[in-house]
Amino acid sequence: MTVSELAQLDDFEAVALPEADREIDGAYSGDLLSWVMGRARAGNAWITIMSNINVVAVASLADTACVILAEGVIPDEEFTATAQARQVNVLRSGKPAYEISLILGSVL
């Protein structure tokens, strides 16, 4: 499934989709940045409640397919602009990380 296809599902909303056609290959959930760096794989969807600017850097360098902001988190302008500029796809969802994981488990 591509990131833009995921964004079209009911529980998801696009925040920034600079590489909308990117394929999602599995997922990783976590908020501690070094754990994500160490454990997420390239192409994963990364589910987190963190929305500070360092999240964009980690997603870019770890080469995840997209960030999914959980729990209805709304990122600020700088976050969205930086994601766009650095080719980092970002979605958001009102659901908690566990429920997002369940959805991904059924659609991926």
Partner: protein, 140 residues
């Protein structure tokens, strides 16, 4: 590639929001050189962890990246407080990061272990009160 190519970055110790710029720059440069994405990913992650450490723990520093025939060499140098017990610092979960840093998602104590994991060679030399130099190599 026969000539060694190198990039130098000054890592600002003040600004948190721009932290990671040197790593982003390296990623971009390596991409332009057509280097294998897997290698770029390893170098980017190791370098980012080191760069963030210099910002958080050492008040900034310098990064030098050299593309050699058979590997990429990353040298990170700072004049921070140094690391008294390197073995301890290398343990997963060991961190001296303060609460304001932890609130940003750092401080898991996984940075140095990640640097080791994603590189083929890593050497730390540190003198308390003088600073730290970390050298890492990723082979093609």
């Amino acid at each position: 590639m026969s000539d060694a190519l190198s990039f130098h970055y000054d890592v600002d110790g003040e600004s948190f929001s721009s932290a990671g710029q040197a790593s982003a720059g390296v990623k971009k440069n390596l991409r332009q050189l057509g280097i294998d994405p897997e290698i770029i990913r390893k170098v980017s992650i190791a370098m980012y962890e080191g760069e963030i450490n210099m910002v958080i723990h050492a008040g900034g520093g310098e990064a030098d990246i050299t593309v050699e025939d058979n590997c990429i060499v990353i040298v990170l140098t700072d004049r921070g407080p140094g690391i008294a017990d390197i073995d301890k610092a290398m343990e997963e979960g060991y961190s001296t990061a303060r609460d304001n840093i932890r609130a940003l998602g750092f401080g898991a104590g996984m940075g140095l272990p990640n640097m080791k994991r994603y590189t083929d060679e890593m050497n730390i030399s540190s003198v308390v009160g003088e600073g730290t130099t970390i050298t890492m190599k990723v082979f093609f």
